[in-house]
Amino acid sequence: MSAVRVPTGQPVPALRIAGLERVYGSIVALSGVDLEVRQAEMLTVLGPSGCGKTTVLRLVAGLEQPDAGTIEIAGRRVTGPGGSVPPERRRVGMVFQDYALFPHLSVADNVAYGIRRDPDRAVRVAELLELVNLPDAGDRMPHELSGGMQQRVAMARALAPRPDIVLLDEPFSNLDAALRTQLRGDLREILRAAGASAILVTHDQDEALTLGDRMAVMVRGRIEQCDPPEIVYGEPATPFVATFVGTGNLVHADCRLGVGMTRLGPVRLVGASARIAGGALAVIRPEHVELEEAADGPAEAGAWRVVRRRFTGSEILLEVEAPDGLRLWCEAGPAVRRLRIGDAVRLRLRDVETVAFAPSRTHQPAAAEPAPVAAEAVVER
């Protein structure tokens, strides 16, 4: 089918997906997925394994066909009613999870694979190898390279034909932790220098939060939320997002006039949840809670007890239990870093803005998850 320019006053998005559906036999991989990637933007898609995020990439690349929905790349309709553009004419660059380098070709030939008609390809290859910081690796064979180097060659190969959008399928999952952090920064810079628009799918929330200009959270073939990372963390759209991204406690709150009254104190509600009236579940992040050692020890009335301690290097999280059994994850500030399991503490809420979910909302898409159904519940990631 021919490339149809969609007339619009605004800049054309690099990618626009609408109503995408994909079914494998009886398994619904994608249902009604809408996404948009703006020019030069990095969109990260975060979701547990098997949520359908890789399927989105394969449909965009044209390696599989959707059962319904449309895909436009740089304003060109590539999938939709009326036909499908084959992968080789979509102008996408894909970085596969296992890199899929051509084992019989040198690094330079791998990078040049998609630009063999370009008379200046030697220059372009050198430029790209420079960009991915492998200027001298052109003559080497893929199996001689480390995992991190292979990953960068895969990046250069995907960028060489100047694709309209770059698709990255869990590009760091085969690397060890130290390398991952370093390459994450490199990747960001490489894409920015190339001015490329990109989608990166991952199951690692740090990756999604740090790399994305915006991030989409996906579960069971649906997009739960698509917003800048700060919003996804600060104003999660669903209970699933609240507990999947970062650590979130869901605490019962009586809401009125934009204030939720919890057993720990009031929270200010923002966004749509400001309009909730009545009982709801408020999202309390560990950093929302201030801990204090109970002066009278365990004897103190209403004191909470530390039941678990999680040290991550930069911070300490404590799980505390109320006399009635409610548990919360809290951040231990500098003053209480020495608290141990069994110690008694007092809790106080800081003055925070957060969101709450009215009971009906908890039955939204994530209802199939082990989502909170009781009036009060805490989900630990």
């Binding site: 390696l63 084992p103 034909p161």
Partner: protein
């Protein structure tokens, strides 16, 4: 003795020595007994060939003139032509079969997958016998057609017949190699090429074929090697390739050093092919992807379904059904004419006895060699491994001739004894016994023994209690392979066997050569049953 490998980071002090003795690290210096067995085996494989060279060099005749004789040149030409035709033929048959059984909806493809590989178990001279006894003069087809007035069939002897038989005997090498490549192929590599702007057809040309190429070429070279080394089929079909020329030279003249010269030329030819095969196989390994995670979509054959089935069935028919029917025809004919139908007990005992003895001996040698190769990857291990693989690739006629020279001049005690034959078999087929054991050892690693050591076992005890049970099936599989190879082996039995010694192989060969097809049918049937039995054991182990 100088340490042959660097000690694994342990101080080379007295305390270090004490420690090293207990170290399980794979780079630790090989224990002396393993080293001795390995090097002795390697020496036994190499020395006869060296001796062959000495003998050829010491000839009184003018070696260069002999090599440049028109007849020698003609033999070289015939052999090369045979190799090329077999190479082309096995690709033409093997590649489509591999593709049809891995990538299409060929009806009954699981059955065809097994049936198309079975010819590998049939010795070339049985196929040769079947071919001659079916299509040759006074063959089954001729005697069936005679009443209809057909007096002559096209001649089966010479290059066409030999090439046909050898292609049918060795095309499974190409099928196996190509199948393995096609099954291992990494789908995402092809997908990457699509996203980079290639159409399906271009992906096939730029990615699929270059990646499969080395594996297919390696499989083809194995088939060529088989053809170059073959003695049985070429001699029954009276085609003068090197093997037959060497045998005739050896039998005909007193100056056996001329046979030695021919043998050296054949040796050179096979070494070149072996070397090429090893290189291609290494390359194919570098290209091998992880096993496909997504099921590979299969091509719908549509109206080509039945032509495809007809093609595969024709190959299986020629390679399996024709021999079986021919053997049955001659068995029935023999019984009908009241001809003394007997498969003498001697050839059966000769085959089984030597095969069993060689299998036991090879297995006993295989364990230390496999341990050396798998656990001590230093230079001695590499040498032993290469030499035993090389010995396996040598043409039987060359090895036999070399051993005759060794025995007649250096070890007259052994000349014309069963001990020499059995020993020769054990060393020649050692690679088959080592292979499965070595692979299992490599896969198991040292974890089991290390666990045993931490639980209080000494090194020997831990090996016996933990590793040995794990490798036992591999040991048995290796023994079965050696047994099968020895039962099928012809030229060494023919040349090295004591006077009056008979095996099923020599019996089939000599009776067919003399045109007594009915007398060859009995041993051939027994041999097929034995091969099928050993093959079934191997396949069952494989399935498990």
């Amino acid at each position: 003795m100088q340490p042959l490998t660097a000690p694994s980071g342990l101080p080379r002090s007295a305390a270090g020595r004490g420690l090293r003795r207990w170290a399980l690290a794979p780079r630790a210096r090989p224990p002396l007994p393993l080293l001795i067995v390995g090097l002795v085996v390697a020496a036994l494989s190499v020395l006869p060939i060296v001796y062959l060279g000495i003998r050829a060099a010491g000839t009184e005749a003018d070696a260069v003139a002999f090599l440049l004789r028109p007849r020698t040149i003609a033999v070289l030409g015939s052999t090369v032509a045979l190799g090329l035709i077999v190479g082309a033929g096995t690709i033409a048959i093997g590649l489509p079969i591999a593709w049809l059984t891995t990538r299409t909806d060929l009806p009954g493809r699981r059955w065809w997958t097994v049936l198309t590989v079975v010819p590998l178990a049939i010795p070339s001279y049985v196929l040769g016998f079947a071919f001659v006894a079916a299509f040759g003069p006074r063959g089954a087809l001729q005697s069936l057609l005679e009443p209809l007035g057909v007096q002559r069939l096209p001649d089966v002897y010479g290059l066409p017949g030999a090439a046909c038989v050898l292609i049918l005997a060795s095309y499974p090498y190409v099928v196996l190699a190509a199948r393995a490549g096609m099954l291992r192929e990494d789908r995402s590599v092809e997908e990457a090429a699509r996203t980079l702007g290639d159409t399906r057809r271009m992906v096939f040309r730029r990615v699929t074929m270059p990646l499969l190429g080395p594996a297919i070429a390696a499989g083809t070279l194995l088939a060529v090697l088989y053809a170059l080394s073959d003695f049985g089929a070429v001699s029954l079909l009276q085609f003068d390739s090197f093997s037959r020329a060497i045998y005739l030279q050896y039998r005909a003249t007193f100056d056996r050093s001329l046979a030695a010269i021919l043998a050296l030329v054949l040796l050179g030819l096979t070494l070149v092919v072996t070397f090429g095969e090893a290189r291609l196989r290494r390359r194919a390994r570098e290209f091998a992807g992880r096993p496909a995670r997504r099921p590979v979509e299969s091509v719908t054959l549509g109206r080509w379904r039945w032509p495809a089935v007809a093609f595969v069935a024709a190959v299986v028919g020629l390679a399996l059904v024709v021999p079986a029917v021919t053997i049955a025809f001659w068995l029935i004919r023999a019984l009908g004419q009241g001809e003394t139908f007997r498969v003498g007990l001697e050839p059966i005992l000769g085959s089984l006895g030597t095969a069993a003895a060689a299998a036991v001996l090879a297995t006993v040698l295989a364990l230390p060699v496999a341990l050396l190769v798998a656990r001590h990857p230093g230079r001695p291990g590499r040498i032993v491994e290469r030499v035993s693989y090389g010995a396996f690739a040598l043409p039987g006629i060359v090895v036999a001739l070399a051993l005759v020279f060794v025995a007649t001049t250096a070890l007259p005690v052994l000349y014309q004894t069963l001990a020499l034959l059995i020993g020769a078999y054990a060393v020649r087929f050692l690679a088959e016994a080592v292979g499965p054991v070595r692979a299992t050892l490599a896969r198991t690693g040292l974890r089991l023994e290390e666990a045993g050591r931490t639980l209080g076992d000494g090194p020997v005890r831990a090996f016996a209690r933990l590793t040995l049970p794990v490798v036992r099936p591999a040991i048995l599989a290796g023994a079965a392979l050696v047994f099968l190879s020895v039962v099928k082996e012809l030229p060494m039995a023919l040349i090295l066997g004591p006077i009056g010694f008979e095996t099923l192989a020599t019996e089939i060969w000599s009776t067919t050569s003399e045109g007594f097809y009915a007398r060859a049918a009995g041993p051939a049937a027994v041999l097929l049953v034995l091969s099928a039995g050993a093959m079934a054991v191997l396949l069952r182990d494989d399935a498990r």
